[in-house]
Amino acid sequence: MRLSTRDLVYIGVFGALWGVVEMTFGSLLHALNVPFSGAVLTGIGMTIALIGRLFVPKRGSVLLIGLVSAFLKMFSLGSIVVNPMIGIVTEALLAEIALSALGRPRRLSFLAAAMLALLWTFAQPFFTSGILGGQGLATVLGWTLQKGAKALGMLPSAVAAVLALLIGIHLLIGAVAGLLAWDAGRAVRARLQPAEKA
């Protein structure tokens, strides 16, 4: 992967954009305790990172955008940033794997990348609290079901339905993020093109 100065400047700018969203909008969503705030935040971050892929169509660019954003998040004025950092880097890595596996940027690859990244948002507590934190997967599953059932207005006993809906909502947010990134990225390109031609 050989990146030009322009590529690196673009990566820095897209990383900063994701970082700004995490530091401002992210704090607001968490403070308001909005349901699925993590997924919405990942969706916005993924949209920005995937637009970045359109402008730096090289392997590793989304991962680098994620790393820049994670460092910015680490140094933001928030207090506990370990989990979001793990989240940002893993989501960027998963999106990068999907994009690299599916070849040049396409609508389908954007869709797959964002959906895979959003799946991690759902799975992260199982990894961080369940495995790294030593709480056990069953305990985390219990919390997830309880929190999810409350947000969806369902009974936690409907395990399969709650889980399916939670996964479905995350995938839906991912799909919207992927399609929006493709559409908005092309719109940005169209907007910049007259300036580039001039």
């Binding site: 100065t5 400047v9 990566i11 900063a16 700004v20 680098l64 934190g133 709480q135 908005a184």
Partner: protein, 241 residues
Amino acid sequence: MRDGNLGAGSPGPQRLLGTPGYLACLAFSLAASMLARGWGVAMVSGLSLALALAFYPAALRVLAKGRLWLLVAVLVVPASLLGGPPAWALGPLALSQPGLATGLQMGLRALAIVVGVAGFAASVSLSELAGLLERVGLKGLGFALGVAINVLPVIDERATTAFQALQLRGGFRRQRLQALRLLLVTVVANSLRYADDIVSAAEARAFSLERARPLPVTWRARDLALAGALAGATLALALVH
């Protein structure tokens, strides 16, 4: 959001360690808290707090945040209630001894990690981190991080201007989703225009990443000794378990 806000500490004579020293402390807090088992976690947590007290006391401010103690409570309380056969009664609640021990150990582990990360963030500026990344061979990442630090205030300002312009023109009264998409496109396009200015300026100065001098990294004499001692402690923990 300027660099000063993002990384409170900047290189100066008041710092007791150089950037590598702070990096060693962070690596120790992360690695040792993952490796320690049982009540060994209490020792690691105590060492992390002692490091913070000695070298980056600003990190201890994190202990005054309610969110940290909420996190610790989330780790301790469910484990104490559901972590095994009940041993004590606390009013209507039955507490489990092994559950409480596991919960406390998880809480101590979280404390060590949070203090370590907060200490690094409070002591090392982002520019120094970019310099460090450049020196360890991650030139591209260091440069991109440097660009990100510098464009943050510009992006913030331009995003606010775009949002206010859209709002003043009634953009969010109807078709809110369409307005949000428009805001995204405007902010990204404006940021890329600014990025092009940076690229033009770099090219005008014949800038080349390969020939660029890495950003300076501050060293202190005690960095190496401290890094060695912490590496030894981590190794001992790994061998014990």
